[in-house]
Symmetry: D4
Subunit: 208 residues, 8 copies
């Protein structure tokens, strides 16, 4: 009766970044902005590091919702970019679904703003179509903890696996020996405590 252990597989996963737009970001108040900004960029960095196919999408980006975070556009210049003309659920947009299916991947990693809409809706729809869905909870934001908890409950009940960017990177990487320096750099760039460990360590090692 338990959910089986479906492990993230870097050869079978795609990343969907939904509506991280400059205007909508001002609605995010369940995570502090310094931390949230860092989490989103960390997920983006991890995505690039693992060379996962990525799809960007926005909602009404010419209106008050504002343009996509410029870092994302810059980091994924060749990713399919679907500026949705109106569909709130990205999964209701044919181009988006086509792009998702074109990746040929069965595992979908989703993050976005706001959690209970832009993340939950496509997550629920994708599960219904047989995808394995992983929501990156700390790179998804919403109005407050109450709304977040409601969204998590709905998604979890539907079979979504709730992950964080760090857990995701670790599950994709599997073994440090695949690339110690690469993973270490990813962590140092987005986890100040980890960077401090590395600073102290390499300073001491360098003494010799």
């Amino acid at each position: 009766m338990n959910k089986p252990y479906v492990k993230l597989d870097k050869n079978n996963a795609a990343v969907l970044l939904v509506d991280h737009q400059a205007g909508l970001l001002s609605l995010v108040r369940d995570i502090d902005p310094d931390r949230f900004n860092n989490n989103v960029l960390a997920l983006a960095d991890a995505t690039r590091y693992f060379k996962l196919p990525t799809i960007l999408t926005t909602s009404f980006e010419d209106g008050p919702n504002g343009p996509l975070m410029p870092e994302l556009t810059e980091m994924f210049p060749d990713a399919p970019y679907i500026a949705r003309p109106g569909q709130i659920n990205a999964w209701d947009n044919e181009d988006f679904v086509k792009a998702v299916k074109a990746t040929g991947k069965k595992q979908l990693i989703i993050a976005g703003v706001v959690t209970e809409v832009c993340v939950a809706f496509p997550a629920l729809a994708a599960i219904e179509e047989g995808f394995e869905v992983f929501v990156v909870t700390d790179a998804s934001g919403t109005f407050n903890e109450l709304t977040r908890n409601s969204a998590w409950d709905r998604m979890s009940a539907a079979g979504v696996q709730l992950m964080t960017w760090f857990g995701l990177a670790c599950e994709l990487h599997r073994d440090w020996r695949n690339d110690v320096e690469g993973l270490g750099t990813l962590f140092a760039n987005h986890i100040p405590d980890y960077k401090n460990l590395m600073t102290s360590y390499f300073t001491l090692k360098g003494d010799h």
Copy 2:
């Protein structure tokens, strides 16, 4: 084994507003009063905007529980209004259930005060009779977080979908193009951050 994705459908949903009474509202301490008041009115506005059949009910309104929030009476002058003579669970009141069934809708959206009683009891009863039940968590209030979490756990385990008024409005609307201005106005009236985005946007656009 997962809950299937049951989407809100504006053609198949009714709204039950349970015991938002002036006296009982003083018991609500899990959500700040400014926010809670706004959430209830936002749900009411959304209900009217989507023209969903609505049922109002109160418990002992002539006693200390007090009258219904006057805004609700004014906004839904033609809604069935069941002043329950004593039943704590609205679903134990025949007139209420009749009114619900008379809507012909299969999806019930429920909000009320207090969450673990006035919301949870009819929600659990309605599921038992085959309805699809969506509780609007941020327009439902109770004594504190501990009581809220207990109520959520019981409802979620029974199959209730936990929604917020914003998620509900988005899932009902589906596509901005159905009415950009209407939905935008609904959001601006109840989300100060969204209003600010619109203010800045339209001011800038008007410059040209």
Copy 3:
């Protein structure tokens, strides 16, 4: 796949108060002492009000754990009282289980200190034997929120229904008309906000 709606029935329910002992109470830090004390007494009052068979039990009451709260001994002078000689799980004590079964009730309402042990252990054991188990979360206390949340997760997954004393009283009572004054008094004695509503109401009514 949802849990069915098992409603509390005052003709079919017994209350188990487990280890509310003067020493152990100093371990409870997930609920403020004024509130927790009030919740336990409210549950006791409700239990008496609904004339539910009640069983008291303690763990090592002659040692540091200390004697039962004297209010409980006074309120239930005729209740079976099992001072366990060592069993941590009350359900491992034959006399306790016998006393439970002697009530002939199928629904067990459990509260105690600390939640993850004195409450969770008998709750899990009782479910295994086919009882319907309702844990009164706000009359059960433990070290901190983290331990509480772990305990809730384990109990909920096993089929326990998480209730609060107020929800319990409402579900047992069903209809105010069964006894308006009795229920009102119960609430006024344990919910200051409700007492205030009644004070204002009856003062105003008395003006005329």
Copy 4:
């Protein structure tokens, strides 16, 4: 050595609303947006109710900081409006100081965004010039509690009196009998709990 009791006097007080601009408001995270929005409008309403001279000012309103909250422009159509071309401290702007002095008032009530800059700077400068300064803490917002507490400490040490909009309205009004209905309406419009009290009260009175 104590600060003397300097009471607000409606005949001797002016209100300075500093930089409540649509863009800057997205920086305010020490108070929830529903509550903050309400507090600012409550202060504005109180200001109008007591007919206090009011001065509006903005910082770079044509840039990312955005336009003033439209409600403020509408509520104070005749107030001096100083769109500062660059001065961060409004008190560094000659027109602003002239407008302040033109009111002929000795008591300055200040609120704005963000607290440690747009509020604290003119507050500190005004005290230096001999004004009595009252900062409306709940209508002033900033990044987080740490920054707020730093700002309060600096202002309080300099002699600022920290008020809230409700305390301010009460100190200005002095006696309900000056206008029961007016003050009651002001409170009902901005304090949901107070509105509930009035709803219950007048409903009951109307019964007879």
Copy 5:
């Protein structure tokens, strides 16, 4: 430059209970209702225990603010009771000030609802007239922590000493030997943790 140590003296202190009214109590949200209710009653009990002259006052008790908490009326049947016809600051009411002065005491202990108005205003006024003022912070309530902190800052800067009911009782009593049982009973009735200590202690002692 420090405030001198002004100690409470039971022969020279009077207690002012300001506006603990059933309606106004619903505005108090900076302290949980179970705790706040207990604190107010504890202060009242301490006041009676030390036989301090006490003055009760209310604001508009026939309107939405509601009647005084009935426990207070019952506990102080002979205390001067000033139902203010409109003055928000009790000190603006001549009868109140007369009653205060008639006590002949120099130290005033003040508690009330809400802190920044009903407590702070008379506290500031009394200091100005040369009284030594002690505010009982935990028997005074207001909208939220921000408003409380503003009020504390203003009062402390003006020379008010911030006390709690427990500190007050201890400073008035000076020495347990003046009456061990009396003080012990006062504490046991209002501090559940202290009652537990006493229960364990006397049970053990009684064993022998």
Copy 6:
């Protein structure tokens, strides 16, 4: 449909302590360091007390992650110690799995740093292979509450039982009479409140 009650059995349980390394511990910020340190040592003490087979493992201990907490090495000098050369999930390390299986136990008790990786990954893998898995939540730490909650949700959905070290000790011990002094000492050493109870109790008893 409920999870069956799988009870910890001291004859059938092994303990896996994963990556409690001096460097990694600086990443733990969801539990205060004094409490977390105490919890880990309490779990280690309980493990020794019940003579459970124990396996220690570390990740890259020669790098920034740092060496294992020295207390653990000292307390379990004969335990299998697997310094993983790179596998992030300990279960991907053959030696580790061999050591686990060599214990011949079916129940695995897991704690580690960080929760969503070093704990969750082997927990999920072990369940898949038919083990009964108990995670000690308060001896496992991670970046913040959001990441913890995500990890708990994923593990609980997969069938993990969430325990605390105190609940674990109680469920393993079953009956105080098996060794009153031993269990009492374990609790006194790691629960200050319990030690206080014992101090008061034995002091009083010693008086006679």
Copy 7:
């Protein structure tokens, strides 16, 4: 007008530990018990390390308040120990004041339970007699944050300097070179994060 910088001087300071009794400790709820227990022991360790004259005192230790923490009795076997027969303020006890004065020190370091009484009363009294008073805030505990903040405000206004045990140790030590190992050990024993730094450091250094 500022408080002058009065630095702790290990040749001129004495430590007063007031009422850290097993019963009273159950009242402390503003600091988690693991942390509070650690802080008190850290202060005691620091006191011994700097060989400061120390005075122990208790209130009614034969009653429910319970005996002094046994660690303190053991650590300071030769310290004056004043079991007060009834005085709540230790400064009202002649023997206590005599013992204080017998130390010949001008600086008094005070910690105790509860903050607003057992700490604040002697602190205020000592200042009045010309001592320089330093309260160790994190080794002093009370009912909740509100009572703590009230006590801090009263003490700070009277001239008390608020310190923590770590700040105190650093100000007394002045220069690491006076004894690197001693101070390092003190910190490692009471600051898990610091111990981790040392573990990593010495492990790495030992590699060579």
Copy 8:
């Protein structure tokens, strides 16, 4: 009696960065690491932007405290760098004081780790020598809020002005027109919400 308004003056201010070392940073738990890291770098950026003389200092950097954050060394290659051989209070180090005095500035801006020691000690000492001291509260960190609040109270009482990096930058800059782009860039790089405002603004402007 109020503190006079001492304004930061970019021609008369120097910055002291004290002990932001990789090891010590793991002790900082009163501010989340993402935010704290950002605040320190923001202060450093602002320091460079305003070309303020800067002094770096460390405590025992070859031991467990670890090396200075490498960003700081890189950003201030020419700043005096005092690696203190043992003095805990940087002001006890002659070279440090000499370097401070060599700047010829009267205003000292101090930030460091941990607040109650590395920041408070030199701050208090500098005030005693007649400097005007501004502590950057959000670029200074410590163990928890209790220790922070103690440190703030001591520093504020001694005359320190508590600032944040944002307030500091604004007070130094005075007028946007001095360099709109420079200040805007500084803010955008360290305040995600501000960056979002700029992104939206410039995107819209660029549309035309």
